[in-house]
Point group: C2
Chain length 436, copies 2
């Protein structure tokens, strides 16, 4: 099927940008195609916290009139509902912020708009980007969770409602929904996407990430957000060196996850790529404890206002995290930060023999039921270490749901990571996709 | 003069807390004393961006009725006007935010309230905590700048309008007004005071700091904000080891600053404290370049909304910073971050022989005129390195204006820094004070 024959809502962001730039289509047509898909599927998937179809069409028409053409001209993007938008409410998945209208766009939203993007709507989030589920379902099977906390972003992108969405990750909130829903999930190096206007969950861990259906789109959006140089994709015979890192959590993974990672390693090796086992030293097991200390200490402070004025409206789980965080002394918090910083320094030396590491994204396929959004043990390692990570939706689990594999690179080597991820995704091909 | 005979607005925060706790006075009486001082002096000093005396009295009465008594019960605090308050406008020193009313208190404001503090009002800030001056004058001489960007916080505390105020530092915005106005300025280790609800200037540098008239007060407020353990102050015969670090900027300092630092070193040595020269390796000169890259790159992104929607209302200086920041590639930014991180690691080893370093705060006394708020060359070294730093107002310049000295400690050694600072301040005594 030629690109022009595909339904517009199934195109990738870079394909939409090209089709609009060439005059083959318009932002309005793309927006209407996305809106039609949403109208058909939203009653089941429930990915959107806010969507005003009339406003979307009006905005799309305005974009079609713009003379200035940015690299995302006309491309629809969904925004996780803890990220401020000046023209749409930002409700944080909490009754405290019901109808809350921010004054300003978050930095990332504003940069997308300046590049010509159409902000389609707000995607459902777990309460304050934590663990308390929203109503969103997995687009592959509504009886299963889409993962959290960027639940709506994962579900909407996987379901072809929108080609790309912003998420955030403090534990595993970009990677987990990406694996469960079957999207590409890119969590950049900590700090390179500005977090201004994003409700903090834990300041030293919070990272804005991208959920897309292709690595090319993750690269395109990140280029706009960080002013990076366009990457050169790897040629078919590139000499990529991959380290296979099972991590300390390996034994807790379901067989489906272990099979996916080992299958990926095997097929990459068969394709002539150097794959070598790498061992994360046992000192990295510390990350289980430091994660709780740092997350809870920072969470309790970031939510000081909500705790003081509206604690009865918080979920019991979040209230417990805050209560715990308030008991942690600064001395214990500082000690945890120092320990993590030591591990970051240790990790630097471990990447000498590999360009990227291959590692599990999550313990298994999306669990049944909507209340448990999955756990962060495989994702939060890299969030804490501030490394960039990409989840690729390459495999399937026993229920036919997607299972992702994760690639990780050293801090600030985001360009190398994305080129490696695009190469690996080409070699392995996609796992299950939602029917269009 | 016994404490009970001193005017209430001249007491330190910890003295006020004790006097209210013992029933010797009330929050209302303290508030009225501060308001009287402000009424007398504000026409000249212009320290406040927002102050509603009737509301202050009503809030003080409400605090006097509270049964729960926190460690700051009844203590008035001023809040820099880039820090959100749910019950007062937050105008950022910019017409863009004229009358802007945030939904929530910033984390630091909420934690102060939970400890019983009375939020007195908002203190004037340079435009978005940058370099464009506000109307505030130096309380020692209104023809001179109070320094920036926490101009109102420095002036209000030095002028005995309020015992303590919150500021923020991205370059030198806590330390510089502290030196120019004659307050204690404490910039904690990066990250230990949560920045939620504080308008970002440059995310990886922004630090909430405290401006007070005593080190004891800086310790008290920071204990509330970070849940730290109460420090044990040093005894008179403590064996403190001080490193004298002139830094690469030494030759650019006025004689008054060099004299102040060397006089401090001499008198500390005379008092039996080990003072030893330490040299910052020449590699640290990199910080001049990295500061501009990191600050401008992050500033441009943090201000993406204001740039997109209201750039004509920004000052030419800030517009230029943003324009520059938008041209910086992510690759150049990442390189700068990697270089600074390398220096942080290098610095760790240099503190082996000293508990704290003694170093200049700023190049001289407050310059004449209100438009130039001073430069950050001596302060931004430590802001970039994420070290905690305290300015002590110990000396005077040729015009009789205050000159501070700066003490610095390794990352996370805030308790050691504060105890050393209190000890040094006891030994050296205060410089010029505003007449009450």
């Amino acid at each position: 099927m030629a690109q022009s024959e595909k339904p517009l809502h199934t195109l990738a962001a870079h394909e939409i940008a090209a089709a609009i730039a060439s005059g083959e289509t318009t932002c309005e047509k793309v927006a209407r195609s996305c809106l039609a898909r949403i109208a058909a599927r939203e009653p089941v998937v429930k990915a959107w916290a806010f969507l005003d179809p009339e406003q979307v069409v009006a905005d799309a028409r305005a974009i079609d009139q713009h003379k200035e053409r940015g690299p995302l001209h006309g491309v629809p993007v969904g925004i996780k509902d803890i990220i401020d938008t000046a023209d749409m409410p930002t409700e944080m998945g909490s009754p405290i912020y019901c109808g809350h209208q921010p004054f300003a766009d978050a930095s990332c939203v504003s940069l997308l708009r300046s590049a010509g993007a159409l902000i389609l709507g707000k995607t459902a989030t777990c309460e304050f980007a934590g663990a308390t589920a929203t109503v969103t379902t997995n687009p592959h099977n509504p009886a299963h969770t889409p993962g959290g906390s960027s639940s709506g972003s994962g579900a909407a992108v996987a379901d072809f409602m929108v080609p790309a969405a912003l998420g955030t990750q403090t534990g595993g909130s970009v990677q987990r929904p990406s694996s469960f829903c079957g999207t590409v999930g890119y969590k950049p190096t900590f700090g390179i996407i500005d977090t201004t206007g994003v409700k903090p969950a834990a300041n030293s861990l919070d990272t804005v990430g991208l959920l897309t259906r292709s690595v090319e789109d993750a690269e395109l959006l990140s280029r706009v957000l960080t002013n990076s140089t366009k990457v050169a994709w790897l040629k078919d015979d590139a000499k990529l060196r991959v380290g296979l890192s099972r991590t300390y959590a390996w034994d807790s993974a379901d067989p489906a996850t272990r099979d996916a990672v080992e299958d990926a390693a095997r097929r990459l090796a068969q394709a002539g790529i150097a794959v070598k086992d790498v061992t994360l030293p046992s000192s990295f097991g510390d990350l289980i404890e430091t994660r709780e200390i740092i997350n809870d200490y920072e969470r309790a402070r970031g939510m000081a206002f909500e705790w003081r004025t509206a604690r009865d409206t918080l979920s019991p789980g979040l209230a417990k995290t805050i209560e715990n965080g308030l008991t942690i002394t600064r001395e214990r918090y500082a000690d945890a930060q120092i320990r993590v910083e030591r591990l970051r320094r240790e990790l630097d030396g471990l990447f000498a023999d590999a360009d990227v590491w291959l590692t599990p994204t999550v313990h298994g396929e999306a669990p049944k039921g909507l209340s448990f959004t999955g756990d962060h043990r495989f994702q939060s390692i890299w969030t804490q270490l501030h490394n960039p990570a990409v989840t690729l939706p390459t495999h399937a689990g026993p229920n036919g749901l997607p299972i992702g594999i994760q690639l990780v690179a050293p801090q600030y080597q985001d360009a190398k990571l994305l080129t490696a991820a695009q190469f690996v995704f080409r070699k392995l091909g996609p796992g299950p996709r939602v029917q269009v």
